[in-house]
């Protein structure tokens, strides 16, 4: 595999975490414009831990996930009882606050005679753990997809369990779910924390893949993209968001056929696709039909 393909594949994996994070909240009936904030929290905290304190990447990853979950709880606690656009705008405001705080965040230490660390709008250079520890790009790709597979497996097991049914019921009709004994607010908080941790994990990996991050990476565009990925791919299965990311980054970034008009072509395709399939390519009905066909009893 050449470097370009490796890069594209790794990026697909990285942004899949963010798309899954948006997907999880969509299932619970909430549209978040702010998952990029937790991606950013993961990227910054993971980067600080490995580059400034020499913490090994796996530990830093766990810490970043914890921080991402905490940040999501912090945002979710006062906002999750809001509905629809109110919640979307609250998360957007929170994410922009986070991005602007990253712009103010200066925390540098001398590492090997060089100032390293977040430097406000100048960004955060020198997150070199994977280079220093001789992790080859192909190995990193495996790491990303291994973790992604774990996350997917966990999500798919949850979706097929009672918990998944509760999740979808909370998303479909929170009032009805509550009347059946589900503590909707606590349940949503748990979902938000998991989504925050997922996004943060993606962020840690993103920071170490790029070795350089800046506040602009985590702007509203990233957040809306992740929502779009989840919806284009489909809300029927956790594989949907992956399909969305693959379609966008994979087809678009790697195909130079359309030249300068690729966003025009792709944007139009997405709009038309959503007319035909408003809940994405792999929506609940299609997934149900596939599952029924492949597990047909004799």
């Amino acid at each position: 595999m050449d470097d370009f393909t490796l890069g594209v594949l790794t990026n697909i994996g990285l942004f899949s975490f963010l798309a899954l994070s948006a997907y999880l909240l969509l299932l619970a009936g909430e549209m978040s414009f702010g998952q990029q904030a937790f991606f950013g929290v993961g990227a910054y905290s993971g980067g600080v831990l490995t580059a400034l304190y020499g913490v090994p990447l796996p530990l830093a990853g766990l810490a970043a996930m914890l921080l991402g979950a905490l940040a999501a709880l912090l945002v979710g606690l006062p906002t999750l009882r809001l509905r629809g656009l109110y919640f979307a705008m609250a998360t957007l405001a929170a994410a922009e606050v986070a991005r602007l705080l990253f712009e103010l965040f200066r925390f540098q230490r001398e590492i090997d005679g060089e100032l390293t660390g977040p430097d406000g709008t100048q960004g955060f250079r020198g997150i070199r753990w994977i280079f220093e520890h001789g992790v080859e790009p192909a190995e990193f790709l495996l790491l990303v997809y291994g973790l992604l597979a774990l996350a997917l497996a966990a999500l798919m097991i949850v979706e097929r369990s009672r918990l998944g049914t509760v999740l979808r019921s909370v998303g479909e009709d929170p009032g009805l779910a509550a009347s059946l004994g589900v503590d909707v607010n606590r349940f949503k908080l748990g979902v938000a924390a998991c989504a925050g941790a997922l996004a943060a994990l993606g962020g840690v990996l993103f920071a170490h893949h790029n070795s350089y991050i800046e506040p602009r990476n985590f702007d509203i565009m990233l957040g809306v993209h992740s929502l779009a990925y989840a919806l284009i791919g489909g809300l029927g299965t956790a594989l949907g968001p992956l399909l969305g990311v693959t379609l966008d980054i994979g087809l678009l970034e790697s195909s130079r056929v359309f030249g300068g008009t690729r966003m025009i072509v792709f944007g139009g395709l997405v709009a038309v696709l959503l007319i035909v399939r408003p809940r994405g390519l792999l929506d609940e009905q299609l997934v149900h039909r596939i599952v029924r066909h492949s597990f047909k009893r004799p």
């Binding site: 656009l85 606050v97 007319i275």
Partner: protein, 294 residues
């Protein structure tokens, strides 16, 4: 000190006037459709780019440029309405929103294909020196923006509260089903309101680029964010609220820039919005209590 406060207030109201227009456009669309049009700002940007193109190729006068900006924004709005909102009228709000985001990407690429430079100069409304009055400075063009906004709001008020069309619009905002049952063609209301909102957006966009004297592809995102922010601050779904929200956003920005510096300006506005939403005051969320705002 007092003078600075006054000056900031004036500047805040001046920029707030254009935010108010953006918020009014957003609110009209949200009010009747219950959908967020993320392409509202990019559509305005499209109109402004069309005007810039006219300016570069034909050196048209300001009036022609304003008309082109409005026509471009309405055209873009019609395209967005057909592709993103007409098909999802009764269906998914999220699908409509994501579709409008997809078209945003289209607008952004289209304008940079035709006019690829990062910044384009735009003719300003008034070249003259700022007016000085008792130590306060007033730019003539911001006065023009303020005047235009007041006139536009007055006209809109007349249209909405003194005409049959306005009655139909308000009925549709109040309850689309009941409006349909009493014989209002809500589909037609949707289309006309979309055009009206886009035209207001086009005027707002023209006034904004003509006071800034320049146009960048960032205008799309900027207008969408400012419009959304002002609409939410004014308590989603109310037109007087949208005007107040716009003015409030202008004032917050002007004062926080003065007291806390430019870096904290946007932070203050977003923090305030977050705090407001978290506090969930009744005037802000009366829409969610009467019906789902999603």
């Amino acid at each position: 000190m007092l003078l600075d406060l006054l000056q900031n207030t004036i500047d805040g109201i001046a920029s707030g006037a254009s935010y108010a227009l953006l918020a009014v456009g957003f609110t009209l669309i949200f009010g009747v459709l219950r959908r967020v049009n993320l392409s509202f700002g990019p559509g305005i940007m499209f109109g402004c780019y069309a005007a810039t193109w006219m300016h570069l190729n034909f050196q048209s006068g300001l009036i022609v440029l304003a008309l082109v900006a409005v026509a471009g924004a309405v055209l873009a709005g019609a395209y967005v309405e057909r592709l993103c909102f007409a098909p999802h009228r009764s269906g998914s709000a999220i699908a409509a929103m994501v579709a409008s985001f997809a078209l945003w990407m289209q607008f952004e690429e289209l304008v940079t294909l035709v006019l690829p430079r990062h910044v384009y100069a735009f003719p300003t409304l008034h070249e003259g020196a700022p007016l000085e009055f008792a130590g306060l400075t007033l730019r003539p063009d911001t006065l023009a923006v303020l005047g235009a906004a007041v006139v536009l709001c007055a006209l809109l008020h007349r249209l909405l509260y003194r005409s049959r069309f306005g009655l139909a619009v308000r009925a549709t905002i109040e309850n689309p089903v009941a409006a349909g049952l009493s014989g209002i063609d809500t589909g037609q209301v949707f289309v006309r309101v979309f055009a009206l909102a886009s035209a207001i957006g086009g005027i707002a966009g023209f006034l904004i680029v003509a006071t800034h004297g320049q146009l960048t592809p960032m205008l799309g995102m900027w207008s969408t964010l400012k419009g959304l922010l002002a609409m939410m601050l004014g308590g989603l779904g109310s037109l007087p609220g949208a005007v107040l929200g716009g003015l409030a956003l202008g004032l917050i920005e002007a004062h926080s820039q003065w007291f806390l510096g430019p870096q904290l300006r946007d932070l203050t506005a977003y923090l305030l919005l977050f705090a407001l939403l978290a506090a969930n005051p009744a005037w802000m969320t009366r829409w969610t209590t009467s019906r789902s705002a999603s």
